[in-house]
Amino acid sequence: MNMMFSSSYRCIFALLTLALCSICISPAQAESPFKNPLGNPYIQDVIEASVESEKLEDALKQIRDIKEIGPNKKLSISPFHFRKQEDSDQKQEGGVLCMQCHLNLPHQENENLRTFLNMHTQFVDCLSCHYKDNDKSIHYAWFDEKLHLISSKKGGLEISSDKVGDETEENQSLIPESKAKIHPVYRENIVTLSLDDEFSKLLEQLWKSSNEEQKAGLKLRLHTPIKEKGLKCTDCHQDKQSQLDLEALGANSKQAFGIENNVIAKFLEKANKDDKRIRLQGLLE
């Protein structure tokens, strides 16, 4: 199936708009003219998504009440404790589609977990935890910021020797490069949608030219393969049936042990379970 991408986006755009309009009118599934040449499962899910009208109203309300996050206010009082030299960028260049709206610190409401979850966004992609795999066999791999695969020796992947920082071998970080992240992979196709992808650009155009109702529909379709509450801490940080194949990701035995028996994960599991707050002294129990 050859599509002439380069020729006229207007054609596609018009057709897709038509398709979406028909969606708004009727929840019937319309055939999308956009073919998924790379076989990205996420795109496939989005294309095949059906929009339910009950959810449409909620979506519409969300669109209307959207709160603009950032740019971050720099206060005249600087923090007492030194964090790092630069402020974290709200919008990263060449990022993934999710970050266009959700930025890179998306977790806000769960007081217990938000900081830890936001911390993971440094090296774990959104879709790694939030993708509804529907029993597809997903495995995970390191990709750099342009979504090129970083290979490692183990399991067919080679990890480059650039390490971050001058830590000892014990404390060495598992992250192969400075901005590498773990992305889900399905059948050798990365699930995550990059901003450079044609589909993303199309979406951008669509979004700009849509009215509120159309936007609501689009939003729903985009979030169909997304689960709101992602994986739990212990889904990965466990030694028996972890989601992540740490060996495949290039972890040596010490690193793997540290991740599987992560103290904080255990602690937070308790903190989430019990209603009463946990005393810090009970951290290591």
């Binding site: 996050i69 950032g70 971050n72 206010k73 206060l75 005249s76 009082i77 600087s78 923090p79 007492f80 404790h81 030194f82 964090r83 790092k84 402020d87 974290s88 930025l103 610190l105 977790h107 806000q108 007081e111 217990n112 938000r114 900081t115 830890f116 936001n118 911390m119 993971h120 966004t121 440094q122 001058d166 000892t168 103290v263 904080i264 602690f267 903190a271 707050r277 946990i278 005393r279 810090l280 002294q281 951290l283 290591l284």
Partner: protein, 812 residues
Amino acid sequence: MQKFRYALIILSCFMFLSPFLIIPTMLDSPDMCGKLCMRRFYLYFASMTWDDVLQQMSVASTGVMFMGLILITTLFFGRLWCGYLCPMGGLPELVSRLFNDRMKIDYRPLPQTQIRYGYFAVYVILMPSMGISACTLCNFITIPRIFEAFSGGYRGFAFLVSSVGLVNLCLLFLLGFFANKGRAYCQFMCPIGAIDGLVNRAGAHLPFSRRIRVQQERCTGCKKCAQVCMTGSIEMKDGIAIVDQFSCMSCYDCVESCEWGAIDWITKPVNYDPVRKKKGVEFFPTPEWTAVHPDHALLEKPVKLLGSMARSASFSKATNVEGSNSQESEKIEKSAVVEIEPPKKAVRKQSVEAEKGISGRSIAQFIFIFLLTGSALFFGVTQANAAARNIDPDGCLTCHALTGLDYIDADNVLRSASINEKHYYSSLHGSVPCLDCHRETRSYPHKVENTEVDCAASCHVEEPSEGKAYDHQFVVDEFSDSIHGAGWSKGFTGGNRLEEIETEANPSCRWCHSNTLYIEEHKMALFKTEMNHTDEACGNCHQGEVWRGQFGGHILRRLVGARWDKQDTVDMCVECHDNDEHLADVKQKDALSGEEHPVGKRYLGAAQSYAMTLHARLLEANVEEGASCNDCHAPTGYHHGIHEDEKPESPTHIDQLGKTCGAAGCHAYAGAKGGVRFSQTDMHDMSWLMPNPLEDWEIEDFRSSAWNWAALVLIPLSVFFLIASFYWSLFIKKKPKTIYSRWGGEKFKTMMLGMKNKAKKQAPKSAPKKSKPKPPPKAKPEPESAEKKADENKETPDMDKQKDNKPSGEQP
């Protein structure tokens, strides 16, 4: 005329000098340069730009205008300020006239133009380029100070006995009181005089300018004017007086002394080319008073001179008036043919070409440097990392040491729970466990109120010398007492930064302080070069980066200097005090009524006006002699006690200023009696900010400068002079002076002055009359000759007598 001049000088002494100080008492500055006088040691400073020059000129703007007035009057009338008004030159002149000439040193043989402009160039160009102002040698300081000293002013006396003052006093005596005619200071050292001289000379060729000029056809070369000239600006060239317009002060002495009416204070004479009919005979020897500067005419054009001498010699030979004099004329001719060697040109030595190529020496240097750097690198690089100090008994850092624990809170503020472990251990609070400050934090998730920090709380770190638990209570007490006292000193959480900014205008502890390293990152490089062996020497054993950061910083800070230098302090204060948005919310309490009112212009402009001062400029140029905000506003104690000026204990209170300025060894005598004026110098002078002259001009601005008042008096006077001069030159014509000829009036007139005489026309008629009645009526010629004699005797006799004596000798 001289009495008029002396009277004017004495009047100006009254006007400008103590104890009368008529002009300066109308404002508060007896210094002729106003505010700039006090800056005379600091007129030039590091980081000076052209803007500063303009700034200084604007400070002394009325002085500059006054100077302009002087120059304009000089252009039209000659150096009247110098000769008639200036008390600094006039006073020494008057005093020197009291002494006998024998007691005085004559400077007139010296080449005054060269000395004056050479010194001026040094004064204006060389010394400023080295950062020194020569103001201290200015008579404009010395003379007022003398008067002050003798009228009971401490400042004057203190100046005179200082080393600078003594030098000035010596110069005054040598160049003033005991100089011939008393104007040697003016001649050699006065910068205003130097500029004035330039204008005087430049304007001399203009037709409307009045200068002392010589009518060269009348000058006899008697050099009386040159002897009388108080500035030594008259020289004799080729027997004719010439006035050096660089130096002439139009004092009129010469005009009054010339018996020939050859010199006068006039506009450019119509007949400029000298038409001097001179017999080839010298009436008296060539003046011994030679020209002040080498006679370039002689040097450059010997042929021309020789030609003129030859012509005059031939003329003398032709007329052969006095045979004896022909020998003299020959001698003169010979003496005029002086072989003058042209000045030798400096021979340029050929520069020695540098050796090219690699020499053995350079190879040796290379090897040496290679070994040096190689060994340094070798020792520096081979380090093993040691374990960092761990003082986290409660395990907070298990979570908090992770990077990236950020989130965005409901107010859109980036919040971060990450703590950089290494940095913390190397920081000022590196020995303090977390819970010593965050006292109530016990459970997770942390309740916000439990994480509050009170800066005055004591932590469990014991101060090593006395074993007491350390706290910041004393600082907080000083701070609470101060003008910023409403700022928070406790209750700090990670989340209430925004709230604090929005609700409180006063700074809290954390506005200015955060948990930094012992030595700031950006200064670490500098400190390391100062103590450049810590990595290798201490680091050989103590190999942990954290240890070196903490301990090294601890030690270095005490050895090399305080953590905050003065510029950092200024930057910190300026963050709020130069931020108009922030200051708009600030309210001040009126001292009397207690009412709150928004702040005034002086408060808002405090940072800007300070930035213009020398204190700030020096700090900006990394010169530690400057003064930061704290050096004046909170120099003592813990430097947090800033109070409003009106409070008696405030260091900026008017009674405390002397002590404050004198603290830290800066201005040691500011606190002494007599230093009051110094310590009351306005550090936040709003006039530096150059307000909109139309909107913000106040009458005080006018009253505050001596020059304004002087101008008020002098402008009408000069206008009057201007008008009177025009009127005089147009409508009042000067009667020509009667000429006294010494050598037989009619003949002198015809021979010397080229005036055509009626007597000459009548001569041929009278001659035959003479010859005819010679033999018979001897009686007739007698009365005639007697009449002639009588006529002639009325006029001054000499040569004509000789002529007449001959025929009369024949008579019985």
